[in-house]
């Protein structure tokens, strides 16, 4: 659930004092350090604030008569501040500078629309004519010519991202009611122009965007009180003329009869957006509110009335909202927790998300959410409407893609195409995120690939398959043959990824994977690329074979001593072999086995298969489980470090399962005997240990209760009822 927390005033904005002298705010940008923001007003001043202290740290103004025309930003690499006044004059200064007249100045040849500062990419300057330069390039020759690429379109909004190592700039323009989106990749110097699909009777008011998996997701707040989502693939092979971007409804801003007239909005995480606007119920005065919406469940999560009115601007940094409320700049903290049905019923898979990140980490955005939202928007948007858009598409641009009507056909056409063409086409097909039945399409693509593999035993697009499995959310049922083929090809890496990502692998396949993993030789595995993140944190990759020092008894023989030696020998042996000091399998194999441990299964279905596991492999697996168990127990919280490392309950469940399946065999096996006895001893020790802990817990709880009872209050007024 998302919730608004405490709020405080950062500064006043009144004409008599505070920031901006009544002119209002131009923008708010993150400052050089966390918890710092840079305020630019619609006048001459920029102010640096420390948010938690509500304290201005610095304030810089341009001369009378000059006016700051573009929000002041901070260059995160050099900790310099960059401002543009009077459209063309660039100023750069540092913290210690006081007078802006005396700092670096450069006059440019064209009007600047905005400067975007990227954490690792340096500032990027967007000119009003649509030209883009990085600051470094610009400063080399400030008077260089800037091209005008948008002619008489007007820039409405812009945003910059880092994609890999290159900055990507996206901006939206308007001309005569048509909206265009430009995506500029600076390093590659490529510019793409898209036209935004038109919406009857409404137009976009506000934009926001984020990038994920090479796809820019553009969210637009329309004047019909809806938020639409537009997906723009970054990888674009064809340098064709402008394409039409179709949009899909993400959210209707209405709640039980009242409609929120949004003015600006921000994205909080994959399920939540915050909208600032005025909520108008029929027949009532509208009230300005800050609201948080869940896009997944289409619900209003929380709202806060702002009776003093706002300027319609909303910023959000480090889990704080900033907006003007009356004559002050107000800060409200918020909490936004992932909401899902699974969480509601307590079945949430513990996803190892980084603990606390003050920035929204788009990489944690689950792709499945994208897909789900795509599907849901498909269902939400009326069928007729979608048909209509299709028609309009066809009308406006005649030779758009052969579209969905022909996924099957397309695949059929490609059946005999060469491998490279085939893969290229498929790649393109996949990058079209806005296709209906996208999931089904991917299924078809995979099936096509697998079929090709089957017919052509030499063909196995390892990397392509891996890429699809890694980036898309697939399931076993969507491509049932994939794992079978992978098993056949012994593509353990793909199997590992499948085990980690597929929620519905049949127990038979899980068992088959386990068997393959256990049977593959270590030397073979060492040459193979396997995701080791689940083992890297606890396994000792360097096998340091310490030599077992043997004690030598000189001159004859002492029964007691002999006995002692015998004992130590035994203990040492067990130490090495079974006591979990060293991992019985190599790190690659361990990582694969962890993937098996992680997969979902049902005991009754797995057990019959597990019984077929050869005894030697079963012992090896048990040895590994025992090793994991010992490792787990070393830690106070009984969890293994690392991502996707098995939990203690998974380890225990598998151990029990394996023992159930193979107990009679194990008892007979001489090499398993010692392992079993050690395991027994260890478990018994653990049981004792925990029972002692339980006792301590009980005692401590009792103590706590006593302490609680003994309230040291010297005086209280209580209510006593006598009947």
């Amino acid at each position: 659930m998302a919730a608004l927390c405490e709020s405080f005033t950062l500064c006043g904005l009144g004409p008599s004092g505070g920031v901006g002298l009544g002119g209002g705010l131009l923008a708010l940008e993150p400052g050089p350090d966390p918890d710092h923001v840079l305020l630019t007003d619609r006048g001459r001043t920029a102010t640096l604030f420390k948010v938690s202290d509500q304290k201005p740290l610095g304030c810089w103004s341009v001369k009378h008569g000059q006016i700051i025309t573009c929000p002041v930003v901070c260059n995160f690499e050099t900790h310099e501040y960059i401002a543009v006044h009077d459209d063309k004059v660039l100023r750069i200064w540092k913290n210690k500078d006081i007078n802006l007249d005396k700092v670096f100045k450069a006059t440019l040849s064209a009007d600047v629309y905005r400067i975007h500062s990227l954490p690792n990419g340096g500032p990027v300057v967007l000119f009003k004519g649509g030209g883009v330069r990085t600051l470094d390039v610009l400063l080399e020759a400030p008077q260089q010519e800037i091209e005008n690429i948008i002619s008489d379109e007007v820039i409405k909004w812009s945003e910059a991202f880092m994609e890999g190592q290159q900055p990507v700039l996206i901006f939206a323009t308007e001309k005569d009611g048509d909206f265009f989106v430009y995506v500029q990749k600076l390093k590659m110097n490529s510019l793409h122009k898209y036209k935004l699909e038109q919406q009857e009777l409404s137009k976009p008011l506000s934009f926001t965007a984020y990038i994920k998996n090479q796809i820019i997701t553009l969210l637009c707040l329309y004047s019909n009180d809806s938020v639409y989502k537009v997906l723009i693939p970054l990888q674009q092979n064809s340098e064709e003329e402008e394409q039409i971007l179709s949009k899909s409804l993400l959210l209707k801003l209405s709640v039980s009869g009242s409609v929120l007239k949004g003015t600006s909005f921000v994205v909080l995480d994959r399920d939540h957006i915050a909208v600032l606007g005025s909520l108008a119920a029929s027949g009532e005065d509208s009230k300005e509110c800050l609201t948080i919406w869940n896009t997944k469940f289409q619900t209003l999560q929380t709202s806060k009335e702002l009776p003093l009115g706002t300027s319609g601007q909303l910023w959000c940094y480090e889990e704080k909202f900033f907006f003007t409320h009356g004559k002050v700049l107000t800060v409200i903290m918020y909490k936004c927790e992932t909401s899902s049905l699974a969480a509601a019923v307590g079945k949430l898979k513990d996803s190892q998300t980084p603990d606390v990140s003050s920035f929204v980490n788009w990489n944690t955005l689950g792709d499945e959410e994208l897909v789900v939202s795509l599907q849901s928007q498909q269902s939400v948007a009326l069928k007729s409407e979608s048909k209509m858009t299709l028609r309009s598409k066809r009308n406006t641009v005649a030779e758009v893609q052969p579209d969905t009507l022909s996924v099957g056909q397309l695949l059929l056409n490609l059946k005999d195409a060469s491998t490279t063409v085939f893969e290229d086409e498929l790649r393109q097909l996949i990058s079209k995120a806005q296709m209906p039945d996208f999931q089904a399409t991917i299924g078809c693509v995979i099936t096509a690939l697998i079929n090709r593999c089957k017919t052509n035993p030499k063909y196995y697009p390892r990397n392509f398959l891996l890429h699809i499995v890694q980036t898309r959310d697939l399931s076993y049922s969507l491509c049932p043959d994939l794992m079978a083929v992978a098993l056949e090809k012994k593509d353990v890496h793909l199997l590992q990824i499948c085990l980690q990502r597929f929620p519905d692998i049949p127990e038979e396949i899980t068992y088959a994977c386990l068997k393959v993993f256990l049977s593959i030789s270590e030397s073979y595995l060492q040459r193979i690329d396997v995701n080791l993140e689940s083992v890297i944190c606890y396994i000792d990759i360097e096998f340091n074979n310490k030599e077992v020092k043997t004690e030598i008894v000189e001159n004859g023989f002492n029964a007691e001593l002999e006995q002692d030696i015998w004992d130590t020998k035994i203990t040492k042996e067990t130490h090495v072999t079974a006591d979990g000091e060293f991992c019985p399998v190599g790190p690659q194999k361990a990582a694969l086995l962890n993937a098996v441990l992680h997969s979902a299964y049902s005991e009754t279905f797995l057990l019959p298969h597990l019984k077929n596991l050869p005894a030697q492999q079963a012992v090896l697996f048990l040895r590994y489980l025992y090793y994991l168990y010992v490792k787990c127990s070393e830690k106070i919280n009984t969890t293994l470090p690392g991502i996707r490392s098995p939990t203690i309950s998974q380890i225990m469940d598998w151990m029990c399962l394996l023992l159930d399946a193979h107990f009679t065999v194990m008892v007979m096996l001489p090499e398993a005997k010692e392992l079993l006895s050690n395991l027994h001893k260890f478990v018994r020790a653990q049981v004792r240990f925990y029972s002692e802990l339980n006792k301590i817990e009980g005692s401590l709880r009792e103590l706590q209760r006593l302490n609680h009872q003994k309230d040291s209050q010297k005086y209280s007024i209580e209510v006593l009822e006598l009947i």
């Binding site: 003994k710 010297k714 005086y715 209510v719 006593l720 009822e721 006598l722 009947i723």
Partner: protein
């Protein structure tokens, strides 16, 4: 019935003094107890162990030993070096005699109670003759070095055994010579520590029993000087020892708080040979058990944790009754708190000072069990220190809060307290009338216009309080037949018309204050009165006795009321009668004339006379049951006693106004932490 706003007060920092010594009255039903602060108390076994008399302490008069002598006279001796005789009628020290041997560590009376022997710091044992009007020095016994820590007469009065450090000696009373010396640590090898003989008893068989700092209880044949038996009962000292009258049972108390019983039992069934066997261990105390006594039916122990524990011996019990239950007393059986209802003040009485507190307030209301937020905190207004070594006998604050009075053994003080805004000024009233002191109870009239001073010989002085701060003696009320005992409880009617006074003979006299005449006496009841009060509307006198009986006596009609007769006919509930602490305060709710509010240490009770009395089959403490019942079902379950046990130990409870109560609690743990640390004992896990 209703909701009360309860001011739960826990800031009364009373620390009861530890028990130093105990003495059972021979063939009598009383127990004398001395505390470490010098106070002496008398408990009456017949009156349900009611704390009948209290003689407050004195800084310079510690009491190390108490003895009952012939004529039920009580003597005490202490480190002040004096022997004191207590006047149990006037509750003060009647006379003192210097022992002339330095601090007195021990004192013992002979079997007939005609002679006292004292053991002094200088090693001397002196004999005193108990004569009418005092004691007379008789002679010194053979003096040796080393303080005499304990003494015991042989039942035939011919010999005295005395315990000292490392040694015990036996004197011949006739010749005064030491006729036996026994080194008690002779059998302990290479011990450098001295062995202190803390307690001694001389049995008629010639066996001397000692308890010592090594934790041993030893039995000696004094004539041969040999050790008969040795029992190590504790790793720390055995401090006290007492033998039953029949000499078949011994109780010892140790510094770990444990007590043990020894019994003389046949070695075999039917065998004539008997030996001392340690039979029962008890751990009732947390601190040193400095004093033990062995009554005919119970083991009695008193510790530095201020507890008096009476543990009945079940084999001596004929029937299940009040005596058959373990009793523990920690707090006095009288009020140390008085309350100014109108001004919402509490006056706390400590041994040598008074504290005046103003209660806090709240402006919230709530449901049962809720703690309301305070809008004003309680305030410590005044601390009045009593000058001189004497401890305070009694104290009182007037209902309006502007007068505070207290009395010590020899002085009476009256203060005028004025409240100006947040400030408080205290002015001593000069030239208070000379009265027969000490005063045992002080009571202001409800209009704060006069003060009643309970005094010796059954008399009550009436003082008129004058503005702006003076007082005048108006009258002295006396029972017509005379009375030797002091008045210890007073009750005055709200209309100022009647005064009831109870003396040490338990007779209740009622006086008419309009004409200062004796009105009548309540029919005698053979039990101690523990509390009484006059109803503000009906002028009925409600009396609580230490056997837990309740009576209501109509003053205007000079007879018991119909309700009281009904109570006597039906009898009170069994559970009510079996309670072990006396009612210490009675008050009324003027808005609800049928309600009587009373409390003891463990419960607060509203007695609703309009409801039927519970019979023995009904549940007496039924409040929690009632709370679970629906409204309609409650009606059938209601009975007169509405008991609340939430506030414990309850030292005082009073009604401030219609639905506002004040409860003064003193949690045991709060004062236990202020006691000196007990001997460290190894406990599991520490």
């Amino acid at each position: 019935m209703g909701e009360f706003e309860v001011h739960r007060v826990r800031f009364f920092g009373l620390v009861p003094a530890g028990v130093r010594c105990l003495a059972c009255q021979p063939r009598g039903g009383r127990l004398a107890l001395a505390r470490t602060d010098g106070a002496v108390e008398v408990y009456n076994f017949a009156a349900n162990y009611f704390q009948e008399k209290v003689i407050p302490g004195h800084e310079a008069r510690s009491v190390e030993a108490l003895c009952w002598t012939v004529g039920d006279r009580l003597f005490g001796a202490g480190l002040g070096g004096e022997i004191m005789e207590y006047d149990l009628a006037r509750l003060c020290v009647a006379r003192t005699v210097d022992g002339c041997g330095g601090p007195i560590w021990s004192m013992a009376a002979n079997s007939s109670g005609t002679q006292l022997a004292i053991g002094c710091e200088d090693g001397s044992v002196k004999l005193f003759q108990v004569v009418p009007g005092g004691i007379q020095f008789e002679r010194n016994l053979d003096r040796r070095k080393g303080r005499i820590l304990c003494l015991s007469w042989h039942p035939s009065d011919t010999h005295i055994a005395a315990g000292s450090i490392d040694i015990l000696r036996v004197f011949d009373v006739c010749s005064g010579q030491t006729i036996q010396r026994i080194m008690v640590n002779y059998h302990v090898h290479k011990v450098k520590r001295e062995c202190i003989v803390w307690s001694i008893a001389f049995l008629s068989s010639g066996t001397v029993v000692t308890s010592d700092s090594f934790g041993r209880v030893q039995f000696w044949d004094w004539e041969r000087g040999t050790l008969l038996e040795s029992h190590t009962v504790s790793t720390s000292a055995v401090l006290s020892l007492s033998v039953s009258e029949k000499e078949d049972s011994i109780i010892v108390g140790t510094s770990t708080g444990a007590t043990y019983q020894f019994q003389l039992l046949p070695v075999k069934m039917g065998s004539l040979e008997k030996r001392w066997v340690r039979t029962k261990p008890f751990q009732h105390h947390t601190h040193d058990v400095r004093a033990v006594a062995h009554s005919s039916t119970a083991l009695i122990s008193g510790g530095l944790d201020a507890q008096l524990v009476i543990r009945p011996l079940m084999e001596k019990m004929q029937k299940k009754g009040y005596d058959a239950v373990l009793r523990k007393f920690t707090f006095p059986h009288r009020r140390l708190v008085s309350c100014a209802r109108k001004a919402r003040l509490l006056l706390f009485q400590f041994s040598q000072h008074l504290e005046l507190w103003r209660l806090g307030s709240t402006d919230e209301t709530g449901k049962d069990g809720e703690v309301l937020p305070l809008c004003r905190m309680p305030e410590h207004l005044v601390q009045l220190k009593s000058k001189g070594p004497e401890h305070i006998y009694c104290s009182c604050v007037s209902p309006c809060g502007s007068w505070v009075a207290y009395s010590t053994a020899s002085r009476f003080h009256l203060y005028r307290v004025q409240y100006e805004g947040d400030g408080v000024s205290v002015k001593k009233v000069p030239r208070v009338p000379k009265l027969l002191l000490p005063a045992y109870q002080l009571q202001f009239s409800s209009d704060s216009g006069s003060l009643f001073v309970a005094s010796a010989r059954g008399s009550v002085h009436v003082l008129q309080l004058l503005e702006p701060g003076g007082c005048k003696h108006l009258h002295t009320l006396r029972p017509p037949s005379g009375c030797p005992e002091a008045v210890y409880l007073l009750a005055v009617s709200t209309d100022g018309h009647w005064l009831a006074a109870v003396g040490g003979d338990w007779a209740i006299h009622i006086y008419n204050l309009k004409c200062f005449k004796h009105h009548c006496a309540v029919p005698t009841y053979s039990c101690a009165v523990t509390a009484l009060a006059i109803h503000p509307v009906t002028n009925n006198l409600v009396i609580a006795y230490s056997d837990q009986q309740l009576f209501e006596f109509s003053i205007p009609e000079k007879q018991y009321t119909a309700w009281s007769r009904m109570v006597q006919n039906c009898g009170l509930h069994k559970v009510w009668l079996e309670r072990d602490s006396p009612i210490t305060h009675i008050t009324f709710n003027p808005k609800n004339p049928s309600h009587i509010l009373l409390h003891d240490i463990y419960m607060f009770c509203v007695l609703d006379k309009s409801l039927p009395l519970p019979d023995n089959s009904a549940l007496l403490m039924n409040q929690s049951t009632l709370k679970q019942l629906p409204e309609t079902a409650r009606q059938r379950q209601l009975h007169a006693f509405k008991i609340c046990k939430k506030f414990q130990p309850l030292l005082f409870a009073d009604l401030l106004d219609e639905n506002c109560l004040v409860m003064v609690e003193r949690p045991i743990m709060d004062f236990k932490t202020q006691l000196p640390l007990p001997v460290q004992q190894k406990k599991f896990g520490t």
